[in-house]
Amino acid sequence: MQELMVNVKGLRKSFGSQLVLKDIDFVVAPSQVVVIIGPSGSGKSTFLRCLNGLETAEGGTVVVSGHPVVEGGRMMPEAMLDALRAEVGMVFQSFNLFPHLSVLDNITLAPTCLRGVPRRTAQEQGLQLLRKVGLEHKARDYPGTLSGGQKQRVAIARALAMAPKVMLFDEPTSALDPELVGEVLQVMKDLAGEGMTMLIVTHEMGFAREVADVVVVMDHGSIVESGPPSEIFTSPREARTRSFLQTMLAREVGHDA
């Protein structure tokens, strides 16, 4: 059997006395695109952030790209997590570009600091990545001058600069104006087409239907059900999935009206 890219067993996490992740089991094979949906507060983002150790888990085992993150409920030491994070790209809802660095310097920071890539080489690779997301002409600009969609595309390029094995997207289009969502989704589609392993928390149902290999539905800190989009969107087994999809559908119709 092929090595799993993400392997989660019995993951548990609470904020104070509230249990937000309840014994989650979850696997992702290489090149799979997994879309995680569910009502807000269901633990989707927390789950994603547990995968690269941004959140401290309290129970279970998490292995990502061969690196243990949590083992038997114990977090791995920071140095090991740093090594893991260098191989796992993360894209945030609020972009989190570094405002004091130019677009190109945002992208070259990690490769030059961590991998000792010479500045010149890193810049050439950075420009190539910017070309890929259609923003080569913005290389010298500062993030403050970009639109939301452009910022998110730069953030994706920045994550790709470390040549990650897995990409995690935490509601990448939720902070964008509706007309800017498409350009970011297009970049993600291209990435999926190239065989990148991706985990995406999103409310974009159309995107999920089109791009996902697996759709995972979460609610109240548990995985309600998972399966190929054709199954989840047309004949969901669980009542909770049906009611969630109905609300999402009503919202989309509301948008169109």
């Binding site: 570094f98 920071l109 990690a110």
Partner: protein, 221 residues
């Protein structure tokens, strides 16, 4: 009553000397205060590191909670009783530097904590270790926000430095006292001294405003 500045003016060399001493002592304690402030400010970021946090908080509470004059006297008059005799200059610089370091540490901590959490998270997610993320991503942004409150602190330090005249240091204040003891012209002498302090603080303010403007240019931060 008539103001007569001639006595003060005749003693301009000692005023110049005093000004230079004040600038020297202030600059040296500024450097010490900034280094201490940065270290202590960083040390108080994470209360979970109990020992470091505790030590830093102890320093802050002690230094901020007692008068500067008492601290200066402890260095200069107190230490000799336990066999440590430091030159007056050293006592002045240590006293002022350690005192301002406490205030600067709070400026450092506040500015760092005002940078949104996502910046540190994004840097860590790229694989940067904590220190590198702090140095390359968070501190450069925090530094710009530190400048206005640091300006206030620098000005306070310049003015507080007048207290070292009581440690026999021949600073601006001390030279003024000497001129008064010769000329008996207290009003004129104190006015001139106040004016010189005003020039020193104003130059500092302008310089920092300039630095901030440069750092904020190019549409960043």
């Amino acid at each position: 009553m008539k103001l007569d500045f001639s006595g003060v003016w005749d003693n301009w060399p000692s005023l110049l000397h005093g000004t230079l001493v004040t600038v020297e002592i202030t600059a040296a304690s500024l450097v010490l205060g900034c280094v201490l402030g940065l270290l202590v400010g960083l040390g108080r970021l994470n209360p979970q590191r109990r020992l470091l946090y505790g030590l830093c908080t102890f320093y802050l509470t002690l230094v901020r909670g007692t008068p500067l004059l008492v601290q200066l006297f402890l260095w200069f008059f107190g230490l000799p009783h336990v066999g440590v005799i430091l030159p007056a200059y050293v006592c002045g610089i240590l006293g002022l530097g350690i005192y301002s370091g406490a205030y600067i540490s709070e400026i450092v901590r506040g500015s760092i904590q005002s940078i949104e959490r996502g910046q540190m998270e994004a840097a860590r997610s790229l694989g940067l270790p904590y220190r590198m993320a702090m140095r390359r991503v968070v501190l450069p942004q925090a530094f710009v926000r530190m400048i206005p409150p640091l300006g206030n602190e620098f000005i306070a330090l310049i003015k507080n430095s007048a207290l070292v005249s009581l440690l026999t240091i021949a600073d601006l204040m001390h030279e003024g006292e000497k001129i008064i003891s010769i000329t008996y012209r207290s009003l004129e002498t104190y006015l001139v001294i106040a004016l010189i302090y005003l020039v020193l603080t104003s130059v500092t303010t302008l310089a920092l405003r300039r630095i901030e403007k440069v750092l904020r240019s190019e549409g960043r931060v």
